[in-house]
């Protein structure tokens, strides 16, 4: 195990915006689930609710797995 050269300030800025992007993606997923569950219940029967949440879960899984596969 050895050490690399110290990081440049530019790297730090890029790192921070990458972090922010990741956080925003996941925060928006959380918002979709929170608003989604309430609006689907608001709109009507269990079929719509389960359908909408099912699609949300699928998209989430595809995204979550896809992101890691790419790396």
């Amino acid at each position: 195990m050895d050490t690399t050269t110290p990081p440049k300030p530019d790297d730090a800025r890029r790192q921070r915006s990458a972090n922010l992007r990741t956080a925003l993606v996941f925060a928006s997923i959380a918002v979709v689930f929170f608003v989604g569950i309430i609006t689907t219940k608001w709109m009507g029967g269990p079929t719509i609710g389960i359908g909408v949440m099912g699609v949300a879960v699928l998209v989430f899984l595809v995204f979550a797995i896809g992101r890691n596969v790419r790396k």
Binding site: M1, D2, T3, T4, P6, P7, K8, P9, D11, A12, R14, Q15, R16, A18, N19, T22, A23, F26, A27, I29, A30, V31, V32, F33, F34, V35, G36, I37, I38, K41, W42, P46, G49, I50, M53, V57, F60, L61, A64, I65, R67, N68, K71
Partner: protein, 532 residues
């Protein structure tokens, strides 16, 4: 790949060396953005809540020591079962896991800190107000919530203002969990040291990454469910209120959409801890690393499609029953993969049985038993008989206590030398294990018999034929409770006067955290290590 020490130093008002001007005393803890400080606070908070929830459990067991009503009135008894569940799940087990994550994830992936250090502070400091709301609700008119930790309507629509306290507490703890999860995901995805590919990460980091994904998906759903409860209670909506055309069973669907993944949120970090301990004390690499990662992912994905196994008696269509039954049983496959991999790791290893390993092996035995009774519950024709009986109580305590809590004890004994730089009394720690192991089984094994014989859960009184095993369980529970005072003593004694710990007290340990001195310096890996 870079680290971010510069802006951290600026954000802390630290000097250029990054170490000057720390606030001291209480202000250090209130304003800290250091992952180690925050991890420590999470762990102490978790232990405090464990004691509070444990006292409630002992109140329950004291009342159930004999048939009849002796100790508390039935309303208070119901509050005890409700708060015990909420406090143990949201106050003790989840924050405990986050405490381990805060301490260990940055050190295991070679990151200088969590990605969002100030949000990390905020995540923690949301918890004490939530705990105060929960415990404080005992003192409001009408008493604390008493409808069970699952908060089913219609009871929770009719209950007093203690329920509102509970709803707000759940909101706050949910927000804390979501922020913590975003932090963990970002840290793991973006801050790994050069060379630390995802498939080289210690398994503890993997289990937490997947746990955080689960939390992001299901905590907002729980928040939505209790928000709808709140509007049903106060703003005239009728989501779950049958009187206005709502459907109480709908709440159960939404709650268990959260509730089942929640079980894995609690157990996966424990899997991670055990997967660190067993290879170390077997002096062999973890058997089947990649299959372990895929098994954890498979468990997480399956956890989204099994929730209605909690609702087999609500009148599901037959096709639904069959689907949820088989889907639930499928989870046994990835879980079995993990158990066999742990066994294969130990196979022909040069095993030693220090306290962390004892707890890991205790976990292996008892968690597997709890997983097995879960399969029994998953068989719908059997579940119709045993749902809401003590069999279910026995099942999930084998998973939550002998599973997660034992893993937390093991993890504490494993990493305590790294945290505080001192060794603990090994003999006492082994005594802690054996006493916990025996008293745990004395408490919870008889509950299988009680449940099979038909004793319902959440009742303060019971028929005469259940008396003997209840007495045994109550005796065991007090033994288990007092044993945990020994744990407190062991930890405090180690912190105050333990022998100095070397950087790597366990010769078989291989992960990055053991390359830094003990206690771990306030800042580690400010220049990222290179992982080959």
């Amino acid at each position: 790949m870079s680290s971010i020490p510069h802006d951290h130093a600026a954000a802390h008002g630290e000097g250029p060396d990054g170490h000057a001007h720390h606030p001291t005393g209480i202000m250090r803890w209130i304003t800290t953005t250091n992952h180690k400080d925050i991890g420590t606070m999470y762990l102490w908070f978790s232990f405090t809540m464990f004691i509070v929830g444990g006292c409630m459990a002992l109140t329950i067991r004291a009342e159930l020591f004999q048939p009849g009503l002796q100790v508390v009135n039935p309303e208070f008894f119901n509050s005890m079962t409700t708060l015990h569940g909420l406090i143990m799940v949201f106050g003790a087990l989840m924050p405990g896991a986050v405490g381990f994550a805060n301490w260990m994830i940055p050190m295991q992936i070679g990151a200088p800190d969590m990605a969002f250090a100030r949000m990390n502070n905020w995540s923690f400091w949301l918890l004490p107000p939530a705990a105060i709301l929960l415990v404080g609700s005992l003192f409001v008119p009408g008493g604390a919530a008493a409808a069970g930790w699952t908060m089913y309507p219609p009871l929770t629509i009719q209950a007093g203002m203690g329920m509102d306290f509970t709803i707000f507490a759940v909101h706050i703890m949910g927000a804390s969990s979501i922020m913590g999860s975003i932090n963990i995901i970002t840290t793991i995805l973006n801050l790994r040291a050069p060379g630390m590919t995802l498939m080289k990460m210690p398994l503890f980091c993997w289990t937490w990454l997947i746990t955080a994904y689960l939390l992001i998906a299901v905590m907002p759903v729980l928040a939505g469910a209790v928000t709808m409860l709140l509007t049903d209670r106060h703003f005239g909506t009728t989501f779950f209120n049958a009187a206005g055309g709502g459907d109480p069973v709908l709440f159960q669907h939404v709650f268990w959409f959260f509730g089942h993944p929640e079980v894995y949120i609690i157990i996966l970090p424990a899997f991670g801890i055990v997967s660190e301990i067993i290879p170390t004390f077997s002096r062999k690499p973890l058997f089947g690393y990649a299959s372990m990662v895929y098994a954890v992912a498979a468990i997480a994905i399956l956890s989204f499609i099994v929730w209605a196994h909690h609702m087999f008696t609500t009148g599901l269509p037959t096709a639904g029953i069959l689907f949820y039954m088989y889907a639930t049983m499928l989870i046994a496959i990835p879980t079995g993969v993990k158990v066999f991999n742990w066994l294969a790791t130990m196979w022909k290893g040069s095993l030693t049985f220090e306290a962390p390993m004892l707890f890991a092996i205790g976990f292996l035995f008892l968690f597997t038993l709890g997983g097995f009774t879960g399969l029994v519950c998953a068989i719908q024709p059997i579940d119709v008989q045993i749902q809401d009986t003590y069999y279910v109580v026995a099942h999930f305590h084998y998973v939550m206590v002998a599973g997660t809590l034992f893993a937390f004890f093991g993890g504490t004994y494993y990493w305590l030398p790294k945290w505080c730089g001192r060794m603990y009394d090994a003999k006492l720690a082994e005594a802690h294990f054996w006493l916990s192991f025996v008293f745990f089984n004395v408490t919870f094994f008889p509950m299988h018999f009680l449940g099979l014989a038909g004793m319902p859960r959440r009742v303060p009184d019971y028929a005469q034929q259940f008396a003997d095993w209840n007495m045994v369980a109550s005796i065991g529970s007090f033994g288990f409770g007092f044993t945990q005072l020994l744990f407190f003593y062991i930890v405090v004694k180690a912190i105050r006067s333990g022998a100095k710990a070397p950087a790597k007290p366990w010769e078989g340990a291989t992960t990055l955290e053991w390359t830094v001195p003990s206690p771990a310096p306030y800042h580690t890996f400010e220049t990222p290590p290179f992982v080959k």
